[in-house]
């Protein structure tokens, strides 16, 4: 066990090192430079550009820039090129905005997908299963932003759910409870949207896992010896079908950054995805690279956690 942890830690750190090189290379080798973002601005004299290039080490060789960047990143000194704010502080602020969205979305996803998937599997081929399947496919296939606009039209014209931002503007000095409710209310639509794709995928997965297990001999035996219906499905089948999902707890971690760019920009939600999008627009390399680095760290932690969980829940796996 300890050997496994040590080995995978070394492996993950090596992977992370290469990720850092690849992402740095992708960004810096692309044509154009941050100093040329705004060439029409009359304040940008060649001397200014030169000064910026020196200040941000853009005139040094790539390898030196790489060393500078990751030294700054690990000492927490790297600054955003756009507004000179410390990158880590910017990310921290945005992280706390994204986190609730992510948590609520994940909760919705997991609480809805399991009942739907299990029911589909038990009544395989029935009307419920078929309509759930079709809805799942529609949810997978619908472009997220289009779905968002349908919901916005619906909500703005019929219900009174807010669709912009994180809180109601000007509602600063109300009671704590009121503000919390306000925030939850604002979170409803974006998190439901974020969850919709997840529900579709996860419920299909739950269904296929359930079907797999329902076809096993021990389930047939359980049925044959006359166990009650609930006992067969929920105790014999479901428990075994749940196994792969435990490991998925690790794999949802990267969703914290990856999937939210479009949703956050539609709902003007000041989260990480939107910050990354703005950073890309402004060619704010330190922010882009840091977000990328954090995303990679999350992916690696996620796979590590899921490997560990697998060992814990499945006694058949030995390391």
């Amino acid at each position: 066990m300890i050997a496994f942890i040590g080995r995978s830690l070394v492996q993950k750190i090596a992977t992370l090192f290469f990720v850092s090189i690849v992402s740095f290379a992708i960004i810096h080798l692309a044509p154009g430079e941050p100093s040329q973002v705004d060439p029409l601005n009359p304040k940008f004299t060649p001397e200014m550009v030169e000064r910026f290039r020196t200040a941000f080490h853009l005139d040094r060789p790539l390898a030196v820039q790489y060393a500078y960047f990751y030294r700054d990143l690990f000492t927490g000194r790297s600054l955003s090129w756009k507004d000179n704010q410390p990158v880590m502080q910017k990310i921290r602020e945005r992280f706390w905005n994204s986190l609730p969205l992510f948590i609520v979305g994940t909760l919705i996803t997991w609480t809805i997908s399991f009942p739907v998937g299990i029911r589909s599997a038990i009544h395989r081929g029935g009307i419920y299963d078929r309509s759930a399947t079709l809805i799942a496919y529609v949810l997978i296939s619908i472009p997220g932003f289009f779905f968002a606009y349908i919901l916005i039209i619906l909500v703005v014209t019929h219900l009174k759910v807010p669709v912009v931002g994180m809180r109601t503007f000007g509602l600063w000095d109300t009671s704590w409870l009121f503000q919390t409710m306000d925030r939850l209310w604002h979170m409803l639509l974006p998190s439901a949207l974020g969850a919709s794709g997840g529900i579709a995928v996860l419920s299909r997965y739950v269904r296929s896992q359930m079907l797999e297990v329902e076809g096993q001999d021990y389930v047939r035996t359980a049925k044959a010896k006359g166990l009650p219906w609930e006992m067969v499905h929920y105790k014999h089948a479901l428990r075994n079908a749940l196994l792969p999902f435990v490991t998925m707890f690790g794999l949802i971690l990267p969703g914290l950054i990856g999937g939210s760019v479009i949703i956050e920009s539609i709902f003007s939600w000041p989260g990480m995805g939107r910050m990354a999008y703005e950073a890309i627009l402004a060619r704010d390399y330190p922010v882009i690279l840091t977000v990328n680095f954090i995303a990679a760290v999350l992916v690696l932690i996620g796979t590590f956690v899921s490997d560990l969980l697998y060992v814990i829940v499945d006694p058949r796996i030995r390391l």
Binding site: A30, F146, G273, I280
Partner: protein, 388 residues
Amino acid sequence: MTAPAHLFPTGLEEPAAPRRTRFEEFWRLFRRNRLALVGLAVFLLFFATAVAGVFLTAGNQPVFDPALVRLQEKLRPPLSPPLLEALAPGEAPPLGVYLFGTDDLGRDVFARMLQGAWVSLTVGFVAVGISVLVGVFLGAMAGYYGQRAVRLEQLLFTLLLIAGGSLLAGGQIGIGAALLVAGHAWLFFSLSPWGFRRWGSPPGWVRLLLGRVMQVDTLIMRFVDIMLCFPSFFLILTVVALLPASIYTIMIVIGLTSWEGTTRFVRAEFLSLRELDFVAAARALGLSDVRIIFRHITPNAIAPVLVSATIGIASAILTEAGLSFLGFGVPPPHATWGNILSDGKRFIFDAPWLTFIPGVAILLVVLAFNLFGEGLRDILNPRLRERN
């Protein structure tokens, strides 16, 4: 094609091929899956539309002109007749009505949708084509040659070549070209008979260079791990935003960021297939490795690739639409479903058809590909076949 009678004495049937060909069997199973059938039908319709769209909207005098601006006719709802007195002759829509309405510049949305269909189609197919090619190639290499070792010098000149190529692409032509030349020189040196093989007992530094670093399998699969660390939409967005906007950039970038899954399961298939007897037989016949890999093993490993390619097309179309929505899609005068939708969002309450028509079109096409892909998976999966 009956065999001569003397080969089969009385009482023996001649050996018959399976009564149904593989395709007939496939079609028989496929027909029963109604959703997949619908998916196939929508896909064929979409394909026909896209091809027709190219012919009807291209050229100097297109039948449907997607770029024709009629400011006096802006934001007309679908199926509304044109105000003929306000239009110059030749500006009237060819169908007599604005089938899908007009947008904020008075351009015919039907013509723009026709033009955009081809973009969605090519983005889907080219991107997936690239990712399947890369994925199958790397997966086959990892699965077939996995146990071979990589030498240090091979890694080094590959690095040289990659660095040279990317520097060249990044605009530093002098250093890039020099590195490329050096890399190629090294490559020839190491392959040629006068290269490292010249030394009977090589000196220390040559032995170091010839030392085995890792297995081919490890190299490729670690590379897959590295690529999987990037959140894919974010990576695509970054690259597309930094590179000059063009439809080819988008196709290539989507293709080059989505091959990891294919590589993984092609490798897994190869690992089991290469131990089978037919591969041993092929090898015993003295066939070359290339032939064994691509003529004998790959066709047997291709089923899951087909499924994931179909679903990959769906997600590539969605990705393109998402990029267009964020403003990084195909540059403006050319219409794509994604940018019609993203232009339409400003008029979502006044002109909802600008949002709904492209949105529903994307939804239907992507849905068709997903259903078709899932149907394919059910058919190609023998375990499910028995149960049905």
